[in-house]
């Protein structure tokens, strides 16, 4: 799915470190089919709803002013833990297009952008500053310019971010990575032939 060039949208602050994928997409939903259209509901489900299914008052995402949020501004080590695809898809189906954080778990940022969910890593003080504004002014907007690699906080402060050329193109154009790589099939074939000759024991002969 293609991402975006620019996005100006309501951003929701999440202040806790280590929001893991067991919270983002609880285990019991992993056997569900995304096509059923419920993944948005599953997003951070047990943080948003109590055992009876009622919205939790202490969850900021339940604030009426954040119901149309398309951006999350989190803390450190966001989306650590399980590499379950539902953790990515549930963000998208809930309406989140980008997550800004101090750091991410090891796998999430390597793949999320390929499905149209942008992850932006900014220095701790920058993220804290943006989160602070979003907490003081709930419902405020953050702007993201992917082409120019800049995040603008609600107060207008601009923070540059890094995204490599490859990820930028994949994200903005939504191109199929499989197609791109298969464009290199000659190289893959040549490598494979050489590699197999060098390591003949890897043939699954038994």
């Amino acid at each position: 799915m293609p991402g975006f060039q620019t996005l100006t949208a309501v951003a929701a602050p999440i202040v806790t470190d280590d929001v893991d994928t067991d919270q983002i997409f609880p285990s019991r939903f992993t056997s569900k089919n995304r096509a059923d259209g419920m993944f948005g509901t599953y997003f951070l489900h047990d943080q948003r709803f109590d055992e009876s299914g009622a919205p939790r008052a202490d969850c900021i995402l339940n604030d009426e002013r954040l119901k149309d949020a398309n951006i999350i501004v989190a803390a450190a080590n966001y989306a650590c833990g399980s590499a379950r695809p539902g953790a990515i898809y549930s963000h998208l189906d809930y309406g989140i297009r980008a997550v800004i954080a101090e750091s991410f778990g090891p796998v999430f940022p390597t793949v999320a952008f390929k499905s149209g969910l942008l992850t932006i890593q900014l220095p701790k003080d920058a993220v804290q500053a943006i989160r602070g504004q979003l907490l003081r002014n709930v419902g405020a907007e953050v702007s993201i310019d992917v082409a120019h690699q800049v995040v603008a906080a609600p107060d207008g402060t601009r923070y540059p971010f890094e995204i490599d050329h490859f990820a930028k193109r994949m994200f903005i154009e939504g191109v199929s990575e499989i197609d791109l790589t298969l464009g290199l099939v000659d190289k893959i074939e040549a490598f494979e032939a050489e590699h197999r000759a060098a390591m003949p024991w890897l043939r699954n002969s038994r």
Binding site: V15, T16, D17, D18, D20, D22, Q23, P26, S27, R28, T30, S31, R34, D46, E51, A75, A76, N77, C80, G81, S82, A83, R84, P85, I88, S103, G105, P106, V107, F108, T110, V111, K114, S115, D164, H165, F166, E177, I178, T181, L182, L184, V185, K187, I188, F191, E192, H195, M199, P200, W201, L202, N204, S205, R206
Partner: protein, 469 residues
Amino acid sequence: MRAARTPKTILDKIFDAHAVDEEGGRTLLYVDRVIAADTALSAFNTLRNSHRPVRQPAQAIQIPDHFTPSSGPTLEHAGNMELRTLIRDTDAAARSLGIPVVGLGDPRRGIQHVVAVEQAYAQPGIVIAATDSHTPTQGAVGALALSVSTDLAHVLATQCVWIKRPQPMRINLDGRLAANVTAKDVALAIVARIGSAGAAGFAVEYAGSFVRNLSISGRMTLCNMSPEMGARTGIVAPDDVTIEYVRGRPFAPADEHWDAALEFWRTLRSDRDATYTRDVILDVSTIEPMVTWGNNAEDAVPITGVVPDPAGQISPERRSRMAKALDYMGLAPSTRMTDVAIDQVFIGSCANSTIDDLRDAARLMKGQRVVVPTLVVPGSGMVRAQAEAEALDVVFLSAGATWGEAGCSMCNAMNGDVVAPGARCASTSNRNHMGRQGPGSRTHLVSPPTAALAAITGRLADVRQFQGS
């Protein structure tokens, strides 16, 4: 004139031997072997819907483990119709793409990482990829083992993955463990020390005299916990322990290629003058049995320790997480860990389900009775058969524990094996996240001996004081 030689780590050596192409700071890395699981249906459907073949189906394998039942050997035992259908459809999709299946009914079945190591599907110097975040477990035998999440379809279609070379980090472990202290305690001690993001962006090489003397099972436990410190993967350079382990296993090099393979494997050690971006040094002889009190593996303290106080935290983000964790876990600051009563016990998961792990647990459980519900789930059908050959199943069953069929089971609670809301579980698994073992579940990560002692005492206790019967 000799060309200047750049010193390389084992990671560099494997990486360089698999680099197909480079573009914009990313490497197109060739993948020797791929593991799919019962979570792979959407990847399989992506390929089928776009009429793309799997590039090398003989280099892939399908090993269902997340949704498979522990209560019985066949599909009929699956927790519900949805799970039954999902396991069946995913295996069928794999077969339709030409991928061999090690499924229910196959004696080799089990947790993908345990099966891969045990069958020598993972072996020194290869790049192996799977969706699952605990794929780094397989680094125990010197493979570069990568979790690729939603990139599985790409890996199957191209036999490659685009990756930025992770920075090398070395965790050097020396010394000898106290009795009944295990590699799990070492792993928890490391995470507690460096933090849940302490290895973010790194591939961790475990080295040092402790690691050299450690079994493959112990190395699996260390590598398994690498993602809990934020690492991209973990690896132990192959040595005689590795070679003796791999020799003769089903996917090991055939006899006619053995010597050539060995020659290559002997080159797979980091050069003496290789540099690491980060070095951590730990003496394991001072490590106590470790237990977690919170919702992240870094929330680990020695069994002689207490629950920490969020008030002592300077960072508001950390204080927030800690306070939330204590509320969720139902624990008060300064509570002694040995005063924590346990409601149930789980022994299993890719962190701790090898025959060595089960022996560790059985040693403490022998001749005892469990006082809380206890589930023991071996990592594979082969581990289960070996345990039964050693009558470990008799030890567990006569203690009153449940002896399950191999799979992920209660670690991630996807197959219906759940911890009740609010119940406190001593678990040998690798994650203690909120709701991980079921909604409202409270997980304390521990080693197999500590889990076994919790089962027979109903509390977290110090395995060093266990006298046995």
